[in-house]
């Protein structure tokens, strides 16, 4: 037998199919189909957790997703540890291991429970008031201690080894909730042939039919009917049935996020199935059939283990075959608890008494209870309960005061009525309305959705299913379905419950100091809500934040309406005037794993590798990340550090030659009869007269006159330009060009093509560059006369097509060999073999940076920052003076851009040549001025130059070009560095080496 509280003839599980599990190390046996909660209850275990703030012993409040108390840690192994799992939704599997949380040293003896005794100190808002003084203590004492005491559960400290999946889905009608209403709507929609998705958070569909023993549909009991409908829906090609799937977020235009727990319930999930699957559903129509959640009664010590919702006790009995006690009491303001009492009584459980707050309740259920011999105390209240780790008695008193009576019990079922679950409706930005039954129900819709059944405030099975069937049929028709067949399920037997009550019950009123919990999870009592109002909180949003009522996973499921009613009472205002807090996603907690799915680790962001990446790797390159690219940074030889490797590479390039992988450069082909005209408009330089076969360094501005990008452009034909951009600018330059071409200059006949990934680029730079390339080239005369600096030729290299540029980013003679990407590594290897004959080196991006800085060539984005004009950068020569239009032409003449004293790019030489400045360091003209000093510029580039035998730097300095030879200062934390302002060229000032 799987537990002493399992009742032989009750429930739907098969007792023979047992599953073993442990809780806090102790072994138990449950039954397949149990939740962890039902299995523990079957074994008589009610105490499962300690509360968040006061460490009060807690048991199960509910049998579903609204559970605020029974949060446990489920661990499969040391990496697969999930804290804060609601035991009421965790399906049992053989070998499950669960642990209680928030207790030390043990669940039944918890030192932290001292907080309960000291609770006057921990009243609402205590953080805000208590830890104010002294200020310094906050950082060192209060915050670390609060942080270690706060929070529930312990996060796993190892990476999650499981995988998750993600799917997009489209449908005509999405039905959220698979209870009687949801299934009726699904049936109606599915019959018309439209695409339907129906999802329910539980393992099996049926919703409240799980416990409603009085429901009969189509000649069967309600649960059996539901299973039949699900089987029918599953067999239909146009329907997707998703059990164990929670719709947790409702976003714009009927975009609903669902999470499916795929393998959380399996004993051995294996590696083939994901743990969870995220569904991102776009539905033409959404039918919300999310049901209602029962409210607890707010009275003293209503959180003792054994005190639970009446519907929960009924679920444990009717579905799981578990009695929550042997001698139960009932405390209610609503009929539904009577149904629970009757079911328990029939199953052989003693019902000590039903205490009903209402005077003279009447109706079929009350009569049935009487007939079953259950004692009913109407007009009375349970003012408190006895027992600590488990409820042992209830103290009953007339609701307006009078003599007390103590009744021994071992479980107490309570019901204050039902709260429609309007969470998703509210998330869809719909506005709720407070109806005459004192319930918030869907009012004004903001999206194409409809609420049906209990979540719409509709009472009774027949009425709910009528409404749902009609809504399903209507949604299907609106999305193109055929007319629904009139197959509306017939309800034979129904349960209809009258209302309940909101707010605190007698004994927990304004003058009481008792702990009558409104929000179990956050340890918020009726007293806390009143205190918040007394301290000046007027809006329910303020009350919520001050008390934390309805926060965390509760999201107002059980606490909202009681909290609101108590606040409204204190404010002497009607409930709708106090307002309802906004419901936010997620409805229930969602794992990060489900949301990020495969986008983690190496798949978090694409990695771009050049065609020559493998060669660089093999030759020991150290890579740096440049955007998504992996670029070879330097190629250290044995025993070399970065400094030594870069020095060697820099010297080799100027002495013989170096090979550099420039494939990451952005490349755009500008083609068409108006290509030159387009280039004239997009770049500052003149292009019409650039000869075919020649190149030019181009500068692109934004309309405001600041440098946006630069690069060398080759003219391959009268109507064809090969444009290069910076590595980081490739995509935005393309966007910028397309923008102007499509929207400002659509009359131009030009076509733009990104060719960045089509061409691999090998820069061969240095005095020996021509000797290295020439032997491999066919059809190109590479002599200085035939192919001068800044020219481009098309021909073949190693037998494959090449666009061969003669250009230099080092100041030495240089070429850039473009070859189709697939041949990049082969051509590189051939050039490398030739280079070996001349002692050439492979160099990386660091040496590239040093070499270009030696020549004062700027890097856009490093030496410029979006506020630098061509003139500021010393590039006025590249702006076509005779041009009448180009992007940025007007911006360049703005008053601020032509004003004196702008920051200009200059060189800096440290007085001590060994000192290398820090990039980003600030420049001042008087180091002895008081702090804060007037900063007149900053260092943009700074390196050790082995070729110059000293440090070199570029800086943006106010009025820099008028300060040549001036001494300026770079204050650092430990010293002030003296620098001299110089020109930007540090090496080969005359530029003779371009042809050297």
């Amino acid at each position: 037998m799987s537990g002493a509280f399992r009742i032989g003839n009750a429930g739907r599980l098969t007792p023979a199919r047992t599953a073993r599990f442990t809780f806090d190390g102790k072994a138990y046996t449950g039954v397949e189909g149990d939740t962890l909660a039902s299995a523990l209850l079957a074994n008589g275990v009610h105490l499962v957790g300690r509360s968040f703030k006061y460490h009060r012993p807690r048991g199960f409040l509910s049998a579903g997703a609204e559970e605020p108390n029974a949060l446990v840690e489920i661990a499969r192994d040391s990496a697969r540890k999930t804290p804060n799992v609601r035991a009421t939704v965790q399906e049992l599997y053989d070998g499950l291991s669960a642990k209680s949380q928030n207790r030390w040293p043990s669940l039944s003896f918890d030192v932290g429970a001292v907080n309960d005794v000291a609770s006057p100190f921990f009243s609402a808002g205590f953080y805000y008031k208590t830890f104010m003084w002294p200020k310094s203590a906050w950082k060192n004492i209060y915050e670390p201690n609060i942080r270690s005491a706060a929070g529930l559960g312990v996060a796993p400290d190892q990476p999650d080894p499981d995988h998750y999946s993600s799917r997009f889905a489209h449908c005509d009608v999405l039905i959220v909730g698979g209870g009687a209403a949801g299934l009726a709507a699904a049936l109606a929609a599915a019959e018309t042939g439209v695409r339907v998705i129906v999802a329910d958070e539980q393992a099996e569909f049926g919703g409240a039919l799980r416990f409603e023993s009085g429901a009969g549909i189509e000649g069967q009991d309600g649960w059996a009917w539901a299973q039949g409908v699900v089987a029918k829906l599953k067999s239909m090609g146009n329907v997707r049935v998703l059990p164990r799937t929670t719709a947790f977020g409702y976003y714009a235009q009927n975009f609903v996020a669902l999470v499916e727990r795929v393998s959380e319930h399996l004993a051995d999930p294996g590696h083939d199935v994901p743990r969870e699957r995220l569904w991102q559903v776009r539905a033409k129509r959404v039918v919300l059939a999310t049901g209602a959640i029962e409210r607890h009664m707010v009275f003293a010590d209503n959180d003792r283990p054994g005190v639970m919702l009446a519907s929960a006790a009924r679920t444990y009995l009717n579905h799981y075959g578990v009695a929550v006690g042997r001698n139960v009491g009932v405390y209610t303001a609503n009929d539904s608890a009577y149904a629970a009492a009757i079911d328990l009584k029939k199953a052989g459980v003693n019902v000590a008494a039903i205490v009903d707050l209402r005077d003279n309740p009447s109706g079929a259920l009350i009569d049935q209870a009487r007939a079953a011999g259950i004692e009913i105390h109407d007009g009375r209240a349970v003012t408190r309960v006895g027992g600590k780790l488990r409820v042992s008695s209830m103290i009953v008193q007339p609701k307006n005061g009078g003599g007390e009576r103590t009744i021994a019990i071992d479980a107490l079922l309570m019901s204050a009525g039902w709260t429609p679950s309007v969470h998703l409706f509210s998330q869809s930005r719909g506005k709720v309305a407070f109806n005459e039954d004192k319930r918030f129900v869907p009012g004004t819709y903001a999206q194409d959705c409809v609420s049906v059944g209990a979540c719409n405030g509709t009472d009774g099975l027949a009425a709910s299913m009528d409404e749902a069937y009609a809504a399903g049929a209507k949604a299907a028709k609106e999305t193109g379905g055929k007319a629904a067949k009139a197959n509306k399920p017939k309800v034979d037997a129904d349960e209809v419950w009258s209302r309940g009550m909101l707010g605190s019950a007698p004994g927990a009123g304004p003058d009481a100091t008792v702990k009558a919990f409104v929000d179990f999870q956050n340890d918020v009592t009726a007293k806390d809500i009143r205190q918040a109002v007394r301290e000046g909180m007027r809006s329910i949003e303020h009350v919520k934040r001050f008390t934390t009522n309805g926060m965390a996973t509760d999201q107002g499921k059980t606490s909202n309406m009681h909290g609101l009613a108590i606040a409204a009472d204190m404010l002497s205002k009607p409930i709708p005037e106090v307002g309802l807090t906004t419901f936010r996603a997620p409805y229930t907690p969602v794992t990060f794993g489900a949301i990020i799915s495969h986008a983690r680790g190496p798949l978090f962001d694409p990695t771009r590798r050049t065609p020559m990446h493998g060669w660089a790797e093999k030759h020991g390159a150290v890579f740096e990340d440049v955007g998504q690219w992996k670029r070879a940074w330097y190629f250290p030889r044995a025993g070399e550090d970065m400094h030594a490797a870069v020095d060697r590479e820099c010297v080799a390039v100027r002495k013989t030659a170096g090979l550099f992988d420039a494939s990451t450069l952005g490349k755009i082909e500008v083609v068409g009869p108006d290509a030159a005209k387009f280039m004239e408009l997009l770049y500052t330089n003149p292009w019409e007269k650039l000869e075919v076969g020649r190149c030019r360094y181009g500068i692109m501005l934004r309309e405001d006159g600041f440098i946006y990008d630069d690069g060398v452009v080759g003219r391959l034909a009268a109507d064809r330009f090969h444009v290069t951009t910076t590595t980081g600018g490739a995509a935005r330059v393309m966007n910028h060009m397309e923008d102007y071409l499509q929207t400002e200059f659509p009359q131009l006949n030009v076509w733009l093509t990104s060719i960045s990934e089509q061409w691999a680029v090998i820069a061969v730079q240095g005095p020996k560059s021509r000797e290295i390339i020439a032997p491999l080239v066919e059809g190109i005369d590479m002599s200085d006369e035939a192919m001068p600096h800044m020219s481009v030729r098309e021909g073949k290299i190693c037998g494959v097509p090449t666009r061969l540029f003669r250009m230099s980013f080092t100041g030495d003679r240089g070429f850039e060999v473009n070859v189709p990407a697939d041949y990049g590594q082969a051509v590189w290897e051939a050039l490398w073999a030739e280079g070996q004959k001349h002692d050439a080196a492979a160099y990386g991006t660091e040496a590239m940076h040093v070499l270009r800085a030696e020549k004062g060539y700027i890097i856009v984005g490093q030496d410029t920052d979006g506020t630098v004009t061509p003139n500021d950068a010393g590039l006025d020569w590249a702006v076509g003076k005779k041009k009448t239009d180009f992007v940025g032409i007007r911006g360049l003449t703005r008053p601020d851009l032509v004003a004196k004293g702008r920051k200009q790019l200059v060189g800096l030489r440290t007085k001590d040549p060994k000192i290398v400045l820090e990039e980003g360091a600030q420049v001042v003209d008087n180091p002895n001025q008081p702090i804060p000093m007037k900063m007149i510029g900053h260092v943009t580039s700074s390196y050790w130059s082995e070729n110059c035998g000293r440090s070199i730097a570029l800086a943006l300095v106010a009025g820099g070009r008028d300060r040549m030879g001036e001494t300026l200062y770079v204050p650092m934390p430990d010293k002030v560095i003296e620098v001299e302002v110089t020109g930007m060229v540090f090496f080969d000032e005359k530029g003779e080496r371009l042809n050297g």
Binding site: A252, Q280, R282, E703, E738, D739, Q742, E744, G891, R894
Partner: protein, 98 residues
């Protein structure tokens, strides 16, 4: 995630495929080099940033790559309509009074 109708592809596609490109119907002056500082300020810097109906440019960047114009309500975040680049600002909006 919003659905946006691309007027070139002639279908609604998820927001992920698009990129906003700022306010629409601000034409670059054909004599831009000659305009006054005030006119340049109006052209380049001044934007409406309305609460309510905004006319703005979008690009179907991960689709057909075309720029187009859209009318959107900044309060409800709903797209009222979209139309091709170069087409005039619509004088009447579907479902919007005034």
């Amino acid at each position: 995630m919003l659905l946006i109708r691309c007027p070139y592809c002639e279908e609604e596609r998820p927001e992920l495929e698009f990129r906003n490109a700022g306010e629409a119907h601000i034409a670059r002056p054909t004599d831009i080099a000659a305009i006054s500082d005030d006119d340049f300020e109006k052209f380049f810097f001044i934007r409406q940033n309305p609460k309510g109906i905004i006319y703005e440019r979008w690009r179907h960047v991960h689709g057909c790559a075309r720029f187009f114009n859209a009318v959107r309500d900044t309060v409800s975040d709903k797209f009222v309509m979209t139309y091709k680049a170069g087409e005039p600002k619509p004088s009447k909006l579907p479902g919007v009074s005034k």
